[in-house]
């Protein structure tokens, strides 16, 4: 599992809701929408040209209460677009659990909006919680996962599915070869 990410930063403000990331009218109302098409609607309401500009490995920084609102998985389109990691002032509980489960590293780091301007290059170590602005040399200490805790185990497994499949195998609920 990759634990250090470097990339150029996209900057968003406070209260970026999951309605902005996964708009109900365009995505949820269509049950079998292709994930890449769904991702094109991510942030379309607040930043219409954004999804098309994201390059694999980019980072996203944002303000308070990131992912507020619905339990729609906002990390899915972000990951599909290629966002490598997300660093925020604070995050909603539901969105954080979705992020852990999706395998999109999402770090809480108070002060992050003051650390970087959009387009600057950041490096984040999701295990230590250290965030560095490689353009200015400034650094911040974010939260880190308690070693061995369930979210730590899921993050290290690369997301919920690999973690869960291992548990299912151990319990004999699926055979080693009998699953996707």
């Amino acid at each position: 599992m990759e634990t250090v990410f470097s990339g150029r930063a996209w900057k968003f403000g406070d209260k970026i809701s999951t309605d902005l990331m996964v708009p109900g009218s365009y995505v949820l109302a269509r049950r079998n929408i292709d994930p890449m098409e769904a991702a094109q609607y991510c942030m379309r309401a607040n930043r219409p040209d954004w999804a098309a500009q994201v390059r694999p490995g980019d980072l996203l920084i944002a303000g308070r209460n990131f992912g507020c609102g619905s339990s729609r998985n906002g990390s899915e389109p972000l990951k599909t677009l290629g966002i490598g990691a997300v660093i925020v002032e604070s995050v909603s509980r539901i969105h954080l659990r979705n992020a852990i489960n999706t395998g999109l590293p999402t770090l809480v780091c108070p002060g992050i909006l003051g650390l970087a301007e959009e387009g600057q290059t950041l490096r984040v170590d999701i295990l230590s919680g250290k965030v560095a602005n490689l353009d200015t040399g400034a650094e911040l200490q974010g939260d880190s996962w308690e070693e061995g805790s369930p979210p730590y185990q899921i993050v290290m497994a690369g997301g919920f599915m690999p973690f869960f499949q291992e548990k299912l195998r151990s319990a004999g609920l699926i055979t080693a070869a009998g699953s996707e």
Partner: protein, 416 residues
């Protein structure tokens, strides 16, 4: 040291004497919803841990507006049979899950439940720790357990005399205005106080429902005679109400006095952007649509007060009002009581029970530039349709009065 309600429930379900905020625990879970059954099948798991404790309904796209949604509903019925799910609700016998599942005995005091949909905090009205599990529900379906981080607890004391027009919506909007929409982030909120005891169960239910709008993991109320009465015909298993210890530790205690409260409205695009309805009235905000529905405010007394406001009056020209009861049970009660007739006579479009308009799915999606006043829970940009629409949130009385006036108004003169 004493424990809060959330700490007691999590400790009990983890087989522990006590837990502390910040700890991670694996807990037995009492029930969940079946939104991840298809994923479970794809993984090759052939049974669920307890088919009687898995509840399923299609409420968001009910009934199916597209072929995709119809196929998804068909798939759901097949999975219900395959896994022997006993609590499945067909269209016409269903409703919105946060209303429907408790009506059918899913939730009892002291229980720990994690289920689909963010408004699961609603279940806290029953003195139960109910929260969202999205992908995590797979773990519950397979093993009947899930990991939790023990949340810090915050106490909100609501004192004073509840004004006669005042409902839970006005109170939670005032709380969101004053404390912000992240004061409860990842926390367990316990609501208590003299005004809470005066509130009907439905009024508390709205406050628990919008717990997630202030960030909460749980939004809890104590169990009293109103809770017991509502549950008495619905839950047959024994339950034990949970009270916080006298020396329980709260991160913060917030106090409100609602005696002087006014009807409140959340302006676009944030449930915390709250102003008195009087201010909206003075500003003059014409509306295109009024929506009375959702898991937040579409229960019996919500429809009753709307009928009281609209009796003998008409929805203003140029305005449409949509009414969607929270469940089929609410619909039938409203039908028998004559409230739906009054609303229909006033020119309302009375729909069946659905999440549709609230999340911009179907049955009332907003177009570019439209303005809606809604009894639902969220007014984020793009929530009810177009990202160029404006949504205001308010109580059922304020929604109904505004539909008549054609602009947002303080409902009190309509309630006299």
């Amino acid at each position: 040291m004493g424990m809060t309600i959330a700490e007691k429930v999590l400790a009990g379900h983890a087989g522990r004497q006590s837990v502390r905020p910040g700890e991670y625990v694996w807990c037995k879970v009492d029930a969940t919803s079946g939104h991840m059954l298809r994923a479970l099948e794809r993984l090759g798991v052939e049974r669920v841990w307890d088919p009687d404790r898995v509840f399923i309904v299609e409420d968001h796209l009910a009934p199916p507006p597209t072929v995709d949604a119809a196929n998804s509903a068909t798939e759901m019925r097949r999975l219900v049979k395959k896994y022997g799910i006993t609590n499945f609700f067909e269209f016409g016998r269903g409703g919105i899950l946060h209303q429907l599942f408790p009506e059918n005995g899913m939730i009892a005091p002291g229980e720990l439940i994690a289920m689909g949909d963010s408004h699961s905090t609603s279940g806290g009205v029953f003195n139960a720790c109910v929260t969202n599990s999205a992908m995590d529900a797979l773990y519950i379906l397979a093993f009947g357990e899930l990991w939790f981080r023990v949340p810090e607890s915050v106490k909100v004391v609501i004192d004073g005399n509840l004004p006669s027009w005042c409902v839970g919506k006005d109170v939670i909007l005032e709380i969101a205005r004053d404390l912000g929409t992240d004061f409860g982030l990842y926390k367990s909120i316990e609501y208590t106080g003299a005004a809470v005891r005066q509130m009907t169960l439905a009024q508390r239910w709205t406050i628990a429902n919008m717990g997630v709008e202030v960030g909460a993991k749980f939004a809890l109320f104590e169990c009293d005679e109103k809770t017991d009465e509502w549950l008495s015909t619905r839950v047959s298993r024994p339950y034990e109400p949970v009270f916080a210890d006298g020396d329980a530790q709260y991160e913060t205690t917030h106090r409100f006095d609602v005696s002087g409260l006014e009807p409140m409205v959340a302006f676009p695009h944030d449930p915390g952007n709250v102003h008195p309805a009087r201010t909206a009235q003075e500003t003059g905000i014409p509306i295109d649509q009024a929506f009375l529905g959702s898991c937040t405010n579409a229960r019996q007394e919500d429809l009753e007060v709307a009928a009281r406001v609209m009796k003998g009056r008409k929805v203003a020209p140029g305005v449409r009002m949509l009414v969607s009861p929270a469940s089929q049970e609410v619909y039938r009660d409203a039908l028998k009581a004559g409230w739906l007739e009054i609303l229909a006579d006033a020119g309302c479009l009375v729909e069946h029970s659905t999440c549709g308009p609230c999340f911009g799915g179907h049955l009332g999606v907003l177009g570019d530039g439209e303005v809606c006043i809604s009894s639902s829970n969220r007014n984020f940009q793009g929530r009810m349709g177009s990202s160029h629409a404006q949504v205001y949130l308010a109580s059922p009385a304020t929604v109904a009065a505004s539909a008549i006036a054609g602009r947002i108004v303080d409902p009190r003169e309509f309630l006299a």
